[in-house]
Symmetry: C2
């Protein structure tokens, strides 16, 4: 149940792998807009391959929920409705609450130290605002993912950080960074870390769930924007 093989030496990369990475980047970076039709011949030409590996990549994107496909009708870039986005946060709340609870029992001293340093970095980043928000977001997810790793549950980690990672990235750009949020989020992170240090799984879960629900609430308050579903 390995997420990816970062350390296997002869990690032979297949064509479908490369297309998967490129297509994912194209979607998350907005090069392909939500709802856009994904025509196989076009994409195959674009990536310089045949349709075989491309279809393979599309299937994997489908399982990561970045693409929705209907038989004989083709694939489209995902376009979450307001409700679906809120549902994503409800899923995160469940998964990340559990990772926090388990991490409190299993995290190592070294990992705790790394988390501490990470949050210090974030604090500095917020201080001198010019630091592009992009990095802050990336770092924010880092915090969440390291806790998932520290949960010692590879299945939870994969479900969260592999299957739903890019989808979260895609729909995060627009919402986070509301005015007070960055600093409040940092404070919430700090409290989660304290609970982890205290080995208090119950509290860590509670705080993590509140943290994610807070993010959800800011979205729930948003105007539903133009909804393509």
């Amino acid at each position: 149940m390995a997420a990816s093989r970062p350390n296997s030496p002869a990690s032979t990369t297949t064509l479908a792998d490369r297309i998967l990475a490129d297509l994912t980047a194209a979607i998350v970076e907005g090069d392909l807009s939500p709802g856009e039709k994904l025509r196989e011949p076009d994409l195959a030409r674009r990536f310089g391959t045949s349709r075989g590996p491309l279809r393979d990549a599309l299937r994997r994107l489908e399982s990561r929920r970045l693409v929705v496909a209907t038989p004989n009708a083709g694939a489209r870039v995902v376009s979450l409705s307001h409700e679906q986005l809120l549902a994503l946060y409800e899923l995160r709340e469940a998964l990340e609450g559990q990772t926090a609870r388990l991490a409190a029992e299993r995290i190592s001293a070294a990992e705790l130290g790394e988390l501490e340093r990470l949050l210090d970095t974030h604090a500095a980043e917020i201080e001198r605002r010019h630091g592009r928000e992009y990095f802050r977001q990336q770092g924010d997810l880092d915090f969440h993912f390291r806790i998932a790793k520290a949960s010692g549950n590879a299945l939870l980690y994969d479900t969260l950080c592999v299957d739903h990672y890019q989808l979260m990235r895609l729909y995060r750009t627009k919402f986070s960074n509301r005015f007070g949020r960055p600093n409040r989020a940092l404070a919430e992170h700090r409290r989660v870390l304290e609970a982890l240090k205290d080995r208090d799984g119950e509290l860590a879960e509670l705080l993590m769930r509140r943290h994610i629900r807070a993010a959800r609430d800011t979205i729930a308050a948003e105007p539903p924007s133009t909804d393509t579903t």
Copy 2:
């Protein structure tokens, strides 16, 4: 984010769909054993198709975690280690806790009635033991899945009942039905249902999590059996 299209009239079924269903059945029913190598030419011949749709089906099975594949080395039927099986229950605990919590807020009166009747059926089934255990298990999952449906969160439902359904079925056969478990499990179900009726999300989550943790504990107490990972 539809799981499957049960009611679309012209639901054109592709070849890969059929293979996916057949292969899934073969794995879950033990026709293909855990860890067994899945050779594409063999399987293609077996299902009377070419390798194209077969590879497609294999990719989807991979995303449902029933198959593990490594590039250039082929695919095998999943074989969960003792730890991985426990991890699966930790995932369920998180997901189903959340479905119970949300269902308490959103379930309809009609759905509550159906759940009640379902549990009565289970009670009768346990009473006259000759009822094959198979049906009991199926029914047990039914209870959990109806709650997932009633949570009103399609993403949670899919993650639980589509992505991990067959994997749970596969590794359930061997463990549940320990001596007192069926009756205890039924009692636990009843208490969850009571919480749902009371619209007490907090309690429903707590009870559901305990229920799943109880199942996990019986497994944790098992001998790790012969572990192929």
